[in-house]
Amino acid sequence: MTRLLDADDVARMVRRLAHEILEGNGGAAGLVLLGVRTRGVPLARRLAAAIATIEDVDVPVGELDVTLYRDDLALRDPMPIGATDVPPDVEGRTVVLVDDVLYTGRTVRAALDATSALGRPARVRLVCLIDRGHRELPVRADHVGKNLPTAAEDTVVVRLAETDGVDEVVVGAGR
């Protein structure tokens, strides 16, 4: 496994992504950040903290568990379902989905279904820390921390202090 990005890199990306979100939205009005479990959640909280520093506005943050919306249920081992804890006012707002790694796009598709089950947002944006390519669905992120060309067999792991004790992005070559 090779460490590609360290804690300082992650912090810089989060700050830049916060600026990009605000620029794309023309400010913080109407924003709701929804972190896709697991690591999208701490990322969403960090983005909200960064936005609070920049604009002095507290943007609501929610957690989204997409397990029940996946299309590959029967192909995987039984997974525990996590909590979906969403701010009540998704209706008519700009939802920003936050995920750590964008890969096939299937998680995002499930997250879009999960979001629309909660209400009808005015628009939905997608933010990811790493885009590693190999999409299987027509999904594109609005804001990307870093594009990382990989082989399909490679593994890309984002570690965050809140879940893993350290901030870093590591890549392992496939067989």
């Binding site: 029940l68 919306y69 249920l73 029967a74 192909l75 039984p78 979906t84």
Partner: protein
């Protein structure tokens, strides 16, 4: 890793990790009912067959809603007006259902042991929705979920179950699950309605009033008039006087205790109307939790069993 669930027949088939997983899953599924769109697409395209060979309105409705909240298709197969009345055997029926392509069978029957027999014969998961006097596992699970919404832990919790233990599949499942979760169970029953409970790990008492002051959970069983072919007690009035729970009796129950009943209640027999209105009663919570628990069971049974021809 929790062992995958292939059928759900009896509580004793589950280990603690599986029970905890089902209850955790149910807790996460509970809020779906309150969402704007009160269903998730998880089991879309799966067919759940409710095979109900014994009258039941509430349990069937609960299973029906559970499957629909997960977007499964539901087909009903009830004893009324079907070939079962024409003498078709359970296994013939099962063969037909398999040929029709159902993915899971929910079975309610008056024959104890029929779900086990069915599970041996069919390739799809079988979920026992009550078989005779034997088991009713989802009832016990929904009761455990309800209790754990009010208590962090059931270890050492003093649970009193009162009523017709002999004919009660609820009591059998209940005792097994409560013991697995560490509760102390006391059974109170008329001697004629108490089976041999040696080996159940419970205490038996004949004096309801004596055990009430130390009871933390009072579980009142339904008097199953339809099961009483013989005279087990002199009259329903006599039953209500000795074993029934009314407001006066509830005054002996601690203020923070819980009152439960599997429904439907025979008002004025095992529970009076004012007892049902007591703030310690959690009977409607039990009904709500029943849907979430059944969703969790369907989800686990169907996600653990990949269909042969899945197109990745």
């Amino acid at each position: 890793m929790t062992a995958p669930l292939t059928d759900l027949i009896a509580i004793r088939d589950l280990d603690r990790a599986q029970v905890d997983d089902l209850l955790d899953t149910a807790r996460e599924l509970l809020p779906i009912a309150r969402r704007e769109r009160a269903s998730v697409p998880t089991l879309r395209g799966r067919i759940v067959c409710n095979l109900f060979l014994e009258d039941s309105t509430r349990t069937r409705l609960s299973f029906d809603l559970a499957a629909k909240r997960l977007s499964a298709d539901v087909v009903d197969f009830t004893a009324q007006g079907t070939s079962v009345k024409k003498g078709e055997s359970l296994l013939d029926t099962a063969e037909t259902l398999m040929a029709l392509g159902v993915d899971l069978i929910v079975l309610r029957t008056s024959s104890a042991g029929a779900p086990v027999q069915l599970a041996r014969e069919v390739a799809v998961p079988v979920l026992n929705a009550g078989d005779g006097w034997h088991q009713h596992p989802t009832q016990a699970l929904l009761d455990a979920l309800t209790l754990l919404q009010h208590r962090d832990d059931l270890t050492g919790a003093k649970v009193t179950i009162v009523g017709d233990i002999l004919h009660s599949r609820v009591a059998r499942s209940e005792v097994e699950l409560l013991r697995l979760l560490g509760a102390d169970v006391t059974l109170v029953a008329p001697p004629t309605l108490l089976p041999d409970v040696s080996g159940w790990g419970v205490t038996v008492s004949a004096d309801l009033d004596a055990v009430l002051p130390t009871t933390e959970v009072l579980y009142v069983l339904r008097v199953q008039r339809e099961r009483l072919h013989r005279a087990f007690f002199p009259s329903t009035r006599e039953y209500a006087r000795v074993w029934g729970v009314d407001a006066a009796r509830l005054r002996r129950l601690p203020g923070d205790a819980l009152l439960m009943h599997p429904g439907p209640v025979n008002r004025g027999v095992e529970l009076t109307s004012d007892a049902m209105a007591d703030p310690r009663a959690v009977i409607t919570e039990q009904v709500t939790n029943g849907i979430a628990v059944r969703m969790a069971c369907l989800y686990r049974l169907l996600s653990a069993a990949p269909r042969p021809e899945v197109d990745a």
